[in-house]
């Protein structure tokens, strides 16, 4: 029975001729005392898509992202990420899968007191070798070179030796992106990546994202409260309201006015 459903899934891939990078079906999650947070959410994202996810505060966007990496355990539903069945993975294949997905938070979450270079090198944490990823000083030469390469892609190679807690917000977020690139990700998820940045730097960081995902051929899913960003930087758009997926379609079909409704 199970085998058969898997075959059909692969078949539908073949028919569309495109690879599905994230498929979520009937996903549900509730927290004790908070009621239903995600209610029967289903969607899929194709390889190379840039998807904006919008929705009011508390509508379940962050929880949805976290379920996709099983940082939060879903109650029900199926999630297939990069072809892997997330919900049934054991610990070590789950870690391997997580390492292929870059996750960027609103707060950059860099390790303070360590250098920028050490923080970027942390991105290769799951490629083995334990302690050689703890500090830049222990890392093999090629890893250090790769890390500088990632810093060049975000335009900050000159800050490699600065301490992570002495950077501006925009610089920190760029370093977090460099750390995600160090993972050689196939997918980047970003949860309000520019919410704490000023409008100019915010646009720069979003431009950086969009250029990177094009050149590196990465699938991109980002959460934003900025409707302009959501419309500019995506080709697909999804909107959540009270744990339910309300909109899911091509970005070009929506206007700002349509989107205001979901906050009502």
């Amino acid at each position: 029975m199970l085998l058969q459903s898997e075959t059909t899934y692969i078949d539908s891939d073949m028919i569309s001729g495109e690879e599905i990078h994230l498929a979520v079906s009937s996903l549900a999650k509730s927290f004790d005392g908070r009621g239903v947070i995600l209610d029967d959410v289903s969607f899929s994202i194709k390889k190379g898509d840039a998807v904006a996810l919008i929705g009011g505060n508390g509508s379940g966007k962050s929880t949805l992202l976290r379920c996709c990496l099983r940082l939060v355990e879903p109650d029900r539903g199926e999630i297939s990420l990069l072809g892997m069945p997330v919900t049934s993975l054991r610990r070590s294949p789950l870690r391997a899968l997580r390492s292929r997905v870059g996750l960027i938070f609103q707060r950059h979450n860099l390790v303070p007191r360590l250098t920028v270079l050490s923080n970027v090198i942390h991105g290769s944490m799951n490629s083995g070798w334990g302690f050689r990823r703890w500090r830049q000083g222990f890392a093999p030469a090629e890893i250090r070179e790769q890390a500088i390469g990632c810093l060049e892609k975000v335009g900050l190679p000159h800050l490699a030796n600065s301490r992570a807690d002495q950077l501006s917000g925009g610089e920190s977020q760029r370093v977090a992106i460099a750390r995600a690139l160090m993972q050689k990700p196939d997918f980047i998820m970003a949860d309000e990546p520019v919410a704490s940045l000023d409008p100019k730097v915010g646009r720069e960081v979003m431009d950086l994202f969009v250029n990177l995902i094009k050149t590196e051929n990465i699938t991109f899913l980002f959460v934003s409260h900025d409707l302009e960003h959501a419309l500019t930087y995506s080709n697909r758009l999804m909107a959540m309201k009270d744990g339910v997926l309300h909109l899911n379609g091509e970005t070009k079909d929506y206007q700002t006015a349509d989107l205001h409704e979901i906050y009502g």
Partner: protein, 272 residues
């Protein structure tokens, strides 16, 4: 004239809380019991103005007999001081290293298993709750008189102190970076070593410096029960009524403790 409250548009709230709450009858009774016990303890503590006054001339005479300090045995005193300091330094350092590993197991988020968490917590609490002189007596009885018993005592004492503060420091660090590394696919060990430890480092350094200061102070008295160091010299000098030599020893203890504290202040200001 309008009052300032009216001018600033503040309403007159009727149900402001009282400035002070009167204790309930039950609490009042407990306070009363506490005060009674304290008064009873005053008599139990042997506090006595008369004895203090009568003791003053004796103290004065003792101080008189201690001056001027006698420096003829300075060589052996210096050697004993060096030994005391070495015992403190080595004991504290080994204790700090062991504490670090125990503290990882004794911090809730990093511990691999609840059983390990509770047992390491218990070990650390046990090391802390038995006083150092008691440990010293036990070690003298088991490994014999001398510096080794003192070093063991300081190791155990340091574990009781640093184990607790290291674990607390690790539990208090910001969880954001930890979570970020978790999403990268890092193992718990990787996360502890590359996110938790760097963030808790200032706190580790601070506690370690306090542990060294504490070890120096306790290494001075451990000799009194035969666990090596300068304490035994002091005891002998006092027992033989060599008060001038005793004065030299007390002075050198004072200098050592001050020197270690100054060193620790300097490191702390560099590091923070």
């Amino acid at each position: 004239m309008k009052s300032t409250a009216e001018l600033s548009g503040i309403q007159n709230y009727k149900n402001l809380p009282n400035r002070f709450e009167l204790p309930s009858a039950w609490k009042f009774f407990l306070y009363f019991l506490g005060i009674c016990f304290f008064i009873y303890s005053l008599s139990g503590s042997g506090l006595s103005g008369g004895d203090l006054v009568r003791g003053v001339p004796n103290m004065a005479r003792l101080v008189g007999e201690m001056t001027p300090p006698e420096f003829s045995r300075i060589r052996s005193i210096s050697l004993a001081m060096l030994q005391t300091f070495q015992m403190a330094l080595v004991g504290a350092t080994i204790g700090i290293i062991i504490s670090f590993f125990l503290a990882v197991l004794a911090s809730r988020r990093n511990s691999p298993h609840p059983a390990l968490y509770y047992s390491t917590r218990f070990i650390i609490a046990f090391c802390r709750s038995v006083p150092d002189l008691v440990w010293a007596v036990l070690f003298v009885a088991s490994v014999g008189l001398g510096v080794f018993a003192g070093t063991l005592t300081i190791i155990i004492d340091t574990i009781g102190f640093c184990g607790r503060f290291f674990a607390e420091a690790m539990e208090e660090v910001d969880q954001g970076p930890e979570e970020a590394l978790q999403t990268i696919g890092a193992t718990r060990l990787d996360i502890v070593m590359s996110a938790v430890v760097p963030a808790a480092m200032p706190s580790f350094v601070n506690s370690s410096l306090f542990a060294i200061e504490k070890a120096v102070r306790s290494s001075v008295v451990l000799g009194l029960v035969g666990a090596g160091g300068i304490g035994i010299e002091l005891k002998v000098a006092m027992d033989m009524f060599e008060y001038q030599t005793a004065a030299t020893i007390i002075l050198s203890i004072f200098l050592l403790v001050i020197a270690v504290e100054q060193f620790s202040i300097t490191i702390r200001s560099r590091f923070m």
